[in-house]
Symmetry: C2
Subunit: 244 residues, 2 copies
Amino acid sequence: MTLDPILAPHRSIRVFRPEPLADGMTERLVADAQRAPSDATGQMYSFVRIRDRALRRRVSELSGDQRHIVEAPEFLIVCADIRRLTRVLEHRDQVPGRFPATGLHFATVDATLAAQRLVDAAEAVGLGTVCIGGILTGIEALVELLALPAGVMPLFGVCIGWPGEEPVERPRVAMASVLHADRYRDQDAEAIERDLNAMASTTRSGDWARVLARYFGAGGIMEQREAGLRRTLEHQGFAWTREG
Amino acid sequence: MTLDPILAPHRSIRVFRPEPLADGMTERLVADAQRAPSDATGQMYSFVRIRDRALRRRVSELSGDQRHIVEAPEFLIVCADIRRLTRVLEHRDQVPGRFPATGLHFATVDATLAAQRLVDAAEAVGLGTVCIGGILTGIEALVELLALPAGVMPLFGVCIGWPGEEPVERPRVAMASVLHADRYRDQDAEAIERDLNAMASTTRSGDWARVLARYFGAGGIMEQREAGLRRTLEHQGFAWTREG
């Protein structure tokens, strides 16, 4: 079975040509993003477009000094947003509900659906993009910097521009690892080894498990991000406990 | 400024022609989905493809009896998944970290990026789709039904098939409502009224605020989903408190 790709190939682009996007192109991309599906007509997202150069440099510093954040012609912060619809309700003298976990769930999904539609539209016209999970590194300062109020949660950044590099497509795990039939099934040792082999070329050491350990292992990058993310979720009104 | 759309238009399709997808088409869609960007090479998602007819009916019942879940040629449950990479680490005798909030954040984003790329690929070949947030209504029973272990969290469903209806594109809020310049800015009353007008045609009553109130207002559907979602987050290992 051949699996001919349907969409333009995705490679994260981290080196951009200096020329800006054509006038109106960013708006076309956002218009396409807005066509993404949205739960309950809520459109629970906001994009903060960072054009101010000093602000862009500060966001880059807060995200672990990623040069492409500064150099990309366009850079958006994708935010989950339940604030806007809450204010529509209040404008009409309706009492909004309290649903921090459910709000975070649906708004994160809504925002990410819209952002990926934007990425697919960008790649369809030959633009390059890279998503920046590293904004979580300095997320508390970022929230202040962008004046994100309660009900708004930054999720990731997206750099957009004309590609200044031609990276190869990076490998992926086997389809059998992500596609389950009727019920979830854990991988056996053989399947894990197959994925380790498939992913080996994604890393200099040839050992995918070392990359995973650096991010997801004890003491790794994800654990380091945990405290700041929790404080931000509380600060933005998305924290909850069993009791309510 | 004209904002010509780049991708195929998105309309959620809830009536499907009965014929199945061509052999291998679902796999092509999943292969395209797997090309989506993924944080730290983690590919933190799983799709559970529901083919068993009885299982499909049960999932539909748990999701508020949505006929298109039963009738769609294909139906996938999109899951955030940090379990698979945790097991790769354990297979190599590495100790996984503990990062429930960060894991949920990145895995929800990863899974949703992949799912939207799948939707965009499906629409590019003329297929129709609808995303099903309603799986949250019976999420605890769903987790049991699909045998989703700790580290795996169901997010939403996706129905896929050849369109048996031609719905019009639904309206969206103004671009100015979702696209912010450098800092977040709340809408003023005029902008809220503009969006209420723009969205009026999405609802039978002509009053978008009524739809929003039904879902997001006090006592609404989102509040009703909150307790079950919280229990599921705890059960699947994604809950946290300030203390740890």
